[in-house]
């Protein structure tokens, strides 16, 4: 019980920190200088790019945790993988929604079949497939889903590979380094937002793994009750 309280307090502290950082972000972003060609709309990047960063991080966590579960048989790793997969979908959704809102202004279309966008969409689909398999696969689907998560992680390099092969009209590759080099005023808020997203992500991960741990506990209680 004490451990539970502790982790709850931890979770609360983290979420508060994340939300405060998150809430303060617009103020900082408002002060950041305008990007010369894109103007105001460029400020979507402060949320768009960290969203993708967190999603990729989540995909890797899900893949590595799944590998541990698959080869070492650790249910705790499986719970971590499930939490990460769900969060990958959530943060991927943020990226997928903010992207078109930027695109309609900057490119004049809602969606551009551009490799990085397309591949992010593919990754989002993969993680959705993972969740669908867990939801509808029936008992024992955790091992199967773990296999899928490993494959999804292995797919990520091919995302980058294809980006490099294909010529891209996506500005992100050049914008982030440029922010650092030419406009220090933009880089600060960007890092702030990225850290806010990561703190939030950690808090959500903690909550989600906790939920799964509680579920496992309930299952154990059920079995113990039937045992008698």
């Amino acid at each position: 019980m004490i451990c539970m309280m502790q982790s709850q307090r931890m979770f609360a502290a983290l979420s508060v920190a994340g939300l405060v950082m998150f809430a303060a972000a617009p103020l900082l972003i408002a002060q950041a200088p305008y990007e010369s060609t894109m103007g105001l709309i460029q400020k979507i990047f402060y949320f768009h790019v960290p969203g993708w960063i967190v999603m990729f991080l989540a995909v890797f966590i899900a893949g590595i945790a799944s590998a541990i579960h698959l080869f070492r048989n650790r249910p705790a790793a499986d719970r971590l993988a499930l939490a990460a997969a769900e969060l990958a979908v959530v943060f991927g959704l943020i990226g997928l929604v903010t992207g078109p809102l930027w695109a309609i202004k900057a490119w004049g279309v809602w969606w551009q079949w551009e490799p990085r966008l397309t591949m992010s969409l593919i990754l989002e689909l993969t993680m959705c497939a993972y969740l669908l398999l867990r939801r509808y696969g029936g008992p024992g689907s955790d091992k199967l889903a773990a296999g899928v998560a490993i494959f999804a992680m292995a797919n990520v390099p091919f995302v980058y590979l294809s980006v490099n092969i294909w010529r891209t009209i996506h500005p992100a590759t050049s914008v982030v380094p440029q922010l650092a080099g030419s406009a220090p005023g933009m880089f600060g808020p960007f890092v702030w937002c990225a850290v806010a997203f990561l703190v939030l992500f950690t808090a959500m991960m903690a909550a989600r793994t906790r939920l799964e741990a509680q579920r496992a506990h309930v299952e154990r209680l059920h079995l113990a009750l039937e045992e008698r």
Binding site: T98, L101, R167, M204, L211, L221
Partner: protein, 95 residues
């Protein structure tokens, strides 16, 4: 739980440093296919502010929606847990 937190914190630190390290990366030339907004016909121009606000609102909605769903699921599970504990106690008294 704490182990998870520690690991996650470590990962975050690494990532922040990596983000800082992007400094060093050489900026690539901007892509030619990119159409700057001022070259678009004026009719296609959309006001930026509502889009920006919509984007921020959606991000907030997604984050809070998810947190709310976790909270709801957690309370369901905890209710079930209490229920089970009660049943277990009752069972012990029976036997």
């Amino acid at each position: 739980m704490n182990g998870v937190m520690r690991a996650a914190t470590a990962v975050i630190l690494v990532l922040v440093m990596a983000a800082a390290g992007v400094h060093g990366a050489q900026p690539q030339p901007p892509q030619e296919e990119f159409v700057p907004i001022d070259e678009l016909p004026p009719g296609d121009q959309m006001p930026a502010a509502p889009l920006l606000i919509a984007a921020y609102a959606i991000v907030w909605a997604v984050v809070f929606g998810y947190l709310w769903s976790i909270w709801r699921r957690l309370s369901t599970v905890e209710r079930e847990m209490q229920e089970l504990a009660r049943r277990a106690d009752a069972g012990e008294q029976d036997s």
